[in-house]
């Protein structure tokens, strides 16, 4: 397994650190603005053997791998297979995270049982998605049940709340709930208020990102190269961003036909992937089109939305294909510098400062 010569030889000591397995696009909910349009009618899912094979392949090929994320759709729809997948990843000395809407926690006692099983199998973190759309299907109380069950076992728990609309107050309700106070004192608990990207024209407008959040959208994409994403159809994807299924170029190929390593390594020969990793879609468009590039960004709320525009806008596509070569030396050498620095940090952590 060889890297291209222009890639820093220690690259694989740094990347990828995460594998995200989208076990199914099926979901107990059918949120209007779901990026994957997940709903209960979608039955297709990865088999347990496919999941294990991917984890095995990643563990063998990628020494930097630390974390396996199980998401969807709704990961808990896999039930026992999900638990077994967590157990299996843990047995390979990998940390695990499940992303869920929390529907399985309707009953407090049952929620505790489920979390006890997962905790026993080594689950490192539970992420719960909620907010205006999600709560039409899974109520706030159920999410609290899930979070409390998780925290009671010392499992790191993150609740992600969609940004509210002008009419909704899910965030306020959540943090004014009596059950929030003790939870918020738990250092294993985090709450984030996430931007919510509309996927339909008639969607209710959500609150805008604050200026500081918008600024933070700039910069490289931390997903590309660092995240191995397996989709429910057993494809490998370059990221698990919100627009993943809307940008075909993000698909790297089928794991039914190709090896995980081959699909991953192939993207290192695609300059656009390297550039997205280093600079992100905002800066790429700016560098290609000057200040005019920013007009294409419009009222973008999410880096993934900018990425979609970059992949779809004809002017950007033309500018990319016609001009990318002149950016190659700069971007590739900066990638080498990034890996050198990360490797230096890694070495310091393990061995202390060199003399």
């Amino acid at each position: 397994m060889e890297l291209p010569a222009y890639i820093h030889p220690e690259f694989l000591k740094i990347f990828p650190s995460t594998m995200t397995i989208l076990v199914t696009y099926g979901c107990t909910a059918a949120c209007e603005q779901c990026c994957f349009e997940s709903n209960p009618s979608i039955k297709h899912r990865l088999s347990l053997s496919q999941i294990k094979e991917s984890i095995d392949a990643a563990k063998v090929a990628f020494p930097a791998l630390k974390l396996v994320v199980f998401s969807g759709g709704e990961a808990f729809m896999l039930k026992d297979d999900l638990y077994e997948a967590v157990r299996y990843a843990t047995s390979l000395n990998l940390k695990t995270r499940i992303v869920s809407n929390g529907y399985w926690a309707k009953n407090k006692e049952r929620a505790k049982e489920i979390m006890a099983t997962l905790h026993g199998f080594g689950l490192s973190e539970l992420n719960l998605s909620t907010g205006l759309d999600h709560q039409k299907w899974v109520n706030e109380s159920t999410v609290f049940n899930a979070a409390e069950a998780s925290l009671s076992l010392g499992v790191s728990t993150l609740v992600t709340l969609e940004l509210d609309s002008s009419e909704s107050n899910c965030l306020e309700n959540f943090i004014s709930n009596e059950r929030y106070k003790p939870m918020n004192k738990n250092e294993k608990f985090s709450l984030i208020n996430n931007s919510w990207m509309n996927f339909q024209e008639n969607a209710e407008e959500r609150q805008q990102l604050s200026e500081m959040s918008f600024n933070s959208l700039r910069g490289g994409c931390s997903q590309v190269f660092d995240n191995l994403v397996v989709t429910p159809h057993n494809n490998l994807s370059a990221c698990c961003g919100l627009t993943l299924e809307h940008i075909p170029e993000i698909r790297l190929g089928s794991l039914n036909d190709s090896k995980l390593w081959d699909l991953y390594a192939a993207q290192l020969e695609d300059f656009l992937k390297v550039w997205i990793h280093m600079d992100g879609p905002f800066t790429i468009m700016e560098k290609l089109l000057g200040k005019d590039g920013m007009q294409y960004i419009g009222e973008v709320r999410h880096i993934c939305e900018a990425c979609a525009i970059m992949h779809k806008n004809p002017k950007v596509i033309t500018a990319l294909t016609e001009n990318y070569e002149k950016f190659v030396p700069d971007v590739l050498s900066r990638l080498s510098a990034k890996v050198s620095l990360s490797n230096f940090e890694r070495t310091i952590v393990q061995q202390g400062l060199p003399s």
Binding site: S17, E201, S210, F271, G298
Partner: protein
């Protein structure tokens, strides 16, 4: 090629998003080969890669001279040698051009305007290392500025951005009023403020029952730190507002943040620990193990305001990360403290300028008190 499900009427967000920007978009027909796999039925064979991926910008086929590829292959090795091999480093500093020329590396590639490259250059710089070894923060920053790693850092950008946000949105002022916060402190002697009715009112609103925990502080430090703690708490309140951007949650966020502020006062005896190694796994970020200064939560909250001025933030992070990389806790601590003070100053000036608080002649003492609070309580610094 496999047959895919046709795009349905729901899948219009991209064309919608693009047309709303009045930008010519690829026709729906041209996109139809790419319908999302997420909604395909289980028995549908999904196209695993796009048919004609014009955006695969092949490096193998790029029209780049062979010699350039040689240089690119060498860049990483050069950095590694400079980081890990002191003899290579010495040779490099004797004659940079000769060293790079011998390795076939274009000097432009190791001096590019890139945060990682700035850090790498600073890590290997002998003078920077000397300043770090001597725990000389001022010299450290001066040299970084001299090298162009940092420009003249100025937190005015934060103040201006904050003023703009606050001036454009009067909801926060309404929220203060709703909470009966009379912020006209200009007639008060700050040192006597702790005894005043206004203070009592503020205290009960801001601290509530948590107030009891901080009465153990010595009598002299009690009032000044309490006042300072409260003004810092107000600043944190503003940060909460700016971060969340919704008045509906203000009072609630206030409670959460103030509890952080108070607990920081209570446990202020703990000196910030040396830089810690953070495993950035939460967002699947790309840094694997990243050395970051360990700083109090309260300061982390205040530092959220750094996002208002990206350049200032980058420079601050660069300096602190470098100090952490060089293993100097003192510089990390002083740097964090200095940044926090600058942010606090920006907050107070912005609040005063937009009329949210009226400290008048008390503005400077209030800022000084807040700085003192940061030094003595948050960072537990013993020097004056």
């Amino acid at each position: 090629m496999s047959k895919e499900k046709k795009p349905n009427s729901r899948r219009r967000f991209l064309s919608g998003a693009l047309t709303s920007l009045a930008i010519p978009v690829v026709g729906v027909a041209a996109q139809s080969n790419y319908s999302a796999g997420s909604i395909a039925a289980g028995d549908t064979e999904i196209q695993s890669i796009p048919q004609n991926n014009s955006l695969k910008l092949s490096l193998a086929r790029a029209d780049i001279p062979i010699s350039a590829w040689g240089t690119l292959s060498e860049v990483g090795k050069v950095w590694d040698d400079l980081l890990f091999n002191k003899f290579a480093r010495a040779e490099f500093f004797r004659d940079k051009n000769a060293y790079l020329s011998a390795r076939g590396v274009d000097p432009k590639l190791i001096s590019a305007d890139d945060s990682n490259i700035h850090l790498l250059n600073a890590i290997i710089d002998p003078e920077i290392n000397q300043y770090a070894m001597n725990s000389d923060y001022e010299g450290f920053i001066f040299k970084l500025t001299n090298l162009g790693v940092l420009s003249n850092r100025d937190s005015n950008g934060i103040q201006k951005a904050l003023e703009k946000i606050l001036a454009e949105d009067n909801r926060i002022i309404e929220e203060f009023k709703k909470n009966n916060m009379n912020m006209d402190l200009s007639k008060l002697d700050l040192n006597n403020f702790a005894e005043s009715d206004e203070f009592e009112s503020l205290r009960s609103i801001l601290l509530g029952e948590s107030f009891e925990g901080i009465q153990d502080l010595s009598e002299t430090s009690y009032s000044i730190f309490l006042v300072a703690g409260i003004v810092v708490a107000i600043a944190v309140f503003v940060v909460a507002y700016v971060s969340v951007g919704t008045t509906a949650t203000l009072a609630l966020m206030l409670g959460a943040f103030i509890s952080v502020a108070v607990s920081t006062v209570v446990v202020a005896s703990e000196t910030p620990e040396p830089p810690e190694v953070e495993e950035s796994i939460r967002n699947g970020t790309n840094k694997e193990q990243v050395i970051k200064p360990k700083i109090p939560n309260e300061i982390k909250t205040l530092n959220m305001l750094l996002d208002l001025d990206v350049d200032y933030k980058l420079q601050t992070e660069r300096a602190l990360r470098l100090a952490a990389l060089l293993g100097n806790d003192h510089i990390v601590k002083v740097g964090t403290m200095k940044t926090t003070k600058e942010i606090l100053s920006s907050i107070f000036l912005a609040l005063e300028n937009v009329g949210l608080i009226k400290l008048g002649d008390n503005l400077k003492p209030a800022i000084n008190a807040a700085h003192l609070y940061v030094e003595k309580v948050v960072f537990n610094t013993k020097t004056n």
